[in-house]
Symmetry: C2
Subunit: 329 residues, 2 copies
């Protein structure tokens, strides 16, 4: 690959590289004519300053890094929201997809980003320590860390679980089922809140009515199908840990000849775009994913401007009533 450097431009223009640099950046003093000529030549030669060379010298790169394990589905929405906010604040955004916390840290320390948003379950305590030492402004999106240079944005999963139970209770349902997502911190918290509320109300969750959906449509579909084959009494209502498992669950119910919500109410969680398009339109708890991503990036941009760190933004769920839940007679 050929690379056109500042030297090439300097040679072509018959000036020093200093002059080229100054001409292009608008710095220094020189004849307007020289400046124009150099700019013209640089343009004609399609010269673009090398990012490595430039930023080796510079202390700031104008770039914020986003570190995640995936940009699929849920993560894609978060990252996309960050992008908008990042640009709105005049920063470039770089996305780094990494498998492990180790590689994350390596990239974090070796690449020149001015700040970072981290959304990675592989990031562990030992990594936190190193991050702390690096003094890089950082926002975490999936855990609570508040130190110097570090803020976090958190979704209140426990409260959401409680909210789900409370809502279904308020509709008059008492025999509840849940399809939990047990593979993430988020899922565990949602479930804990749900179960706590039921226990407090004196209707603790029965073992047969706890299904494992792993936040996955097909897993939830399979679990539900299996449950239906056991011919146990149908629950009044089901809380699915996310919209995806709600869809899987509804599919199994519909295929077995049941009607949602006439025979059983189903409550989802997330409010992904599909939910309003589904038939029946899904009643769900909005987790404000776009808001989560935007808030994280906004907080980071604030940190960059010197705002005080150590903040915690707690984002709360909100019930979106549609057609998949109904009041018990």
């Amino acid at each position: 690959m050929k690379r056109i450097t500042i030297k090439d431009v300097a040679r072509e223009a018959g000036v020093s590289i200093t002059t080229v640099s100054h001409a292009l950046s608008g710095q220094g003093v020189m004849k307007q004519e020289t400046r124009d000529r150099v700019v013209e030549i640089a343009k004609k030669m399609q010269y673009m300053p090398d990012w490595n060379g430039r930023n080796l010298k510079a202390s700031e790169t104008g770039t914020l890094g986003v570190f995640t394990a995936s940009i699929k589905g849920y993560y894609g929405i978060l990252v996309d929201a960050m992008y908008e906010e990042c640009h709105a604040n005049g920063y470039e955004m770089e996305i780094f997809i990494t498998d492990s916390g180790d590689s994350l840290l390596q990239i974090l320390l070796s690449r020149r980003v001015d700040g970072a948003v981290i959304l990675h379950s592989g990031f562990q305590e030992r990594h936190e320590k190193v991050l702390q030492d690096s003094e890089l402004p950082t926002v975490f999106l999936d855990r609570e860390i508040q130190t110097k240079y570090v803020s976090s944005v958190l979704f209140d999963s426990y409260q959401t679980g409680r909210m789900a139970a409370e809502y279904l209770f308020s509709l008059g349902h008492r025999r509840l089922m849940t399809i939990r997502g047990e593979n993430t911190y988020d899922g565990i918290e949602r479930h804990r809140g749900f179960e706590d509320y039921l226990k407090e109300q004196g209707y603790p969750l029965e073992a047969d009515y706890l299904l494992n959906g792993y936040f996955d449509r097909w897993k939830a579909y399979g679990e539900m199908k299996q449950f239906l084959e056991r011919k146990l009494p149908l629950p009044d209502a089901i809380f699915a840990a996310n919209d995806d498992s709600a869809f899987g669950c509804i599919k199994a119910l519909v295929e077995a000849g049941y009607n949602v919500p006439a025979d059983v109410s189903v409550l989802g969680c997330d409010d992904i775009e599909l939910s309003q398009w589904y038939v029946p339109a899904l009643t769900t708890i909005c987790t404000h994913m776009t808001d989560q991503g935007a808030t994280a990036m906004k907080e980071l941009a604030g940190l960059m401007r010197g705002n005080c760190s150590g903040k915690l933004h707690m984002i709360k769920g909100r019930i979106i009533e549609r057609a998949s839940c109904r009041r018990a007679e």
Copy 2:
């Protein structure tokens, strides 16, 4: 932000920076004891070689760049597929989201990527010329460019449009409607194929039966609703330029009291994940999006290994029969 450099390690270990570099990379000759000690110290200090410094020297960075205007929806799926393939080939992947072809080019030339996949409608002819000069191995995912260093992966949109018409014809439908996506090259081609086939069969598309959906659910929904208010005869079948507009279209039909497919068949295009979950399950043309992304990255990886360039991978659509289309009596 504090940065630990090779100098810091050298000072701490009481050796030269050369020795540190050699010790860490396993190069050069030195006492095993020295090597071990330096490695140990570097680890303890959490030293990570700076990417800028390193790659300023190196000719290859082991990184492939993906250039796109968005990672939302459709694009997210493509990019995600690329990521898998990229890592499988031992490369790191960097995603650059840019607004314009100009900024794309700027990043392309200034960042050190070994190769690039471009999926950006803002990339224009004048940019192609510059790219050509740079000799960077590149794969385009949305247009046909085949030159030295450049290959392309294309979805056969024209053929897909024909296929759609042919399929609906084969079901016995004659009065066809289409909701086209006129804002992209892809959409224009799909539509052209669709209309050509109808013309050839002697049933040219009537003007009232051509709706503009811009590949968008809500736009399609609005257009369809507006059409229904005009009380023109319902078409036998509708070809929506993508699944999203199919959903919008079906929603409008259902709200107006019609049944899909009993009253009208609807054929989508893309086969996004939701399609099989929708009610009715959407009959659609699979565009193999994951395959498109993976193929592009695989081709790029091949280019990197010196495979000959200038290839064109044409990906064909395939009808997925589900529940939204039925045979005419």
